[in-house]
């Protein structure tokens, strides 16, 4: 089954998504999306790695694009926000065409959903903070919102996590 897990920052969505992935299959692949630049990113990566240490995940680094191979077991993609950011912004700060990035990532998510036994995608709820955003941030928020809507439409189940508590928005869950 394919599940989208969404929620605000530090809402417990990654932990919930990992628990769900562990429940779905003993064969686990983790698609990492975070760019390891800066101390804060390093700390978050270390915390997420420690969190996953017991889960037996094989990690594949994604650099703004999703792998197209066949996966046995469960694939955990964490998260859409970093994936979109890496796809949208080049190292030199230049921005790619948002609509073509959206089309490509939507196709890649659809491909992933079709090529794995189970997929758990982590999304980010960041679109409810008003419009006083920098133009680039605004584009990222819009793109991520659109990709989340498309991913939710394809998913069998959608869960919003708040304060660590999962609230089912669509479908049914195995646990």
């Amino acid at each position: 089954m394919n599940v989208l897990v969404t929620g605000g920052s530090a809402s417990g969505k990654s932990l919930y998504a990992e628990q769900l992935a562990c429940h779905l299959s003993p064969t686990r692949i983790y698609l990492a999306t975070m760019s390891p630049e800066g101390h804060e990113a390093q700390r978050r990566i270390a915390r997420h790695r420690a969190q996953r240490a017991d889960g037996g995940f094989a990690t594949i680094e994604c650099n703004g694009t999703l792998p197209r191979c066949r996966f046995d077991g469960v694939v955990l993609l964490d998260d859409l926000g970093n994936l979109v950011a890496q796809a949208l912004f080049a190292q030199d700060g230049a921005m790619a065409d948002p609509s073509s990035v959206l089309d490509r990532l939507d196709r890649e998510v659809a491909g992933l959903f079709g090529h794995a036994d189970h997929v758990v995608v982590v999304g980010n709820e960041v679109g409810a903070e008003g419009r006083s955003l920098y133009a680039g941030t605004r584009t990222w928020v819009e793109l991520m919102g659109s990709l989340a809507c498309k991913t939710a439409a394809r998913a069998d189940a959608v869960v919003e996590v708040t304060a660590g508590i999962p609230c089912l928005l669509k479908g049914a869950l195995p646990c």
């Binding site: 989208l4 969404t6 605000g8 999304g123 709820e125 960041v126 679109g127 409810a128 903070e129 008003g130 419009r131 006083s132 605004r138 928020v141 819009e142 793109l143 991520m144 919102g145 659109s146 989340a148 809507c149 498309k150 991913t151 939710a152 439409a153 959608v158 919003e160 928005l169 669509k170």
Partner: protein
């Protein structure tokens, strides 16, 4: 009780697609308060532009659907104008929600019913 559907949600959360699913065409939606369209889009932008005054409330009440971006989450902005705008959007949505027969919150294109009042005779 006004027969009004209030649709809220973050940026690109699927508000407009949801209104289409209710049977409204794009030509029935407008971001201008004075337009004859039954669906009002982007209430938050109208409030930002200062396009509503004390006489606008009756115009709002005559709409069938009003869409508004949720803007009150995250950090309260340092800028006073931004704070005032968020406050105005939040208060306006709260007041509309009190009067609306139905309030929908969109997350990832999925509607959650926050309020549903049975219409008279139903």
């Amino acid at each position: 009780m006004v027969v009004l559907i209030l649709v809220i949600g973050g940026i690109a959360s699927g508000k407009r697609s949801y209104v289409r699913s209710l049977g409204y065409g794009d030509h029935e939606m407008s971001g201008e308060l004075g337009a004859p369209a039954p669906v009002l889009l982007d209430l938050d932008e109208l409030l930002r532009a200062g396009a509503l005054d004390s006489d606008s409330w009756q115009t709002l009440q005559r709409k069938q659907v009003i869409c508004c971006c949720e803007v009150g989450q995250g950090v309260v902005p340092l800028d006073g104008n931004e704070r005032a705008w968020r406050e105005l959007v939040g208060r306006t949505c709260s007041r509309l929600a009190t009067e609306a027969s139905c309030v929908i919150r969109m997350v990832c294109g999925i509607p959650t019913v926050l309020k549903q009042t049975r219409s008279e005779g139903a």
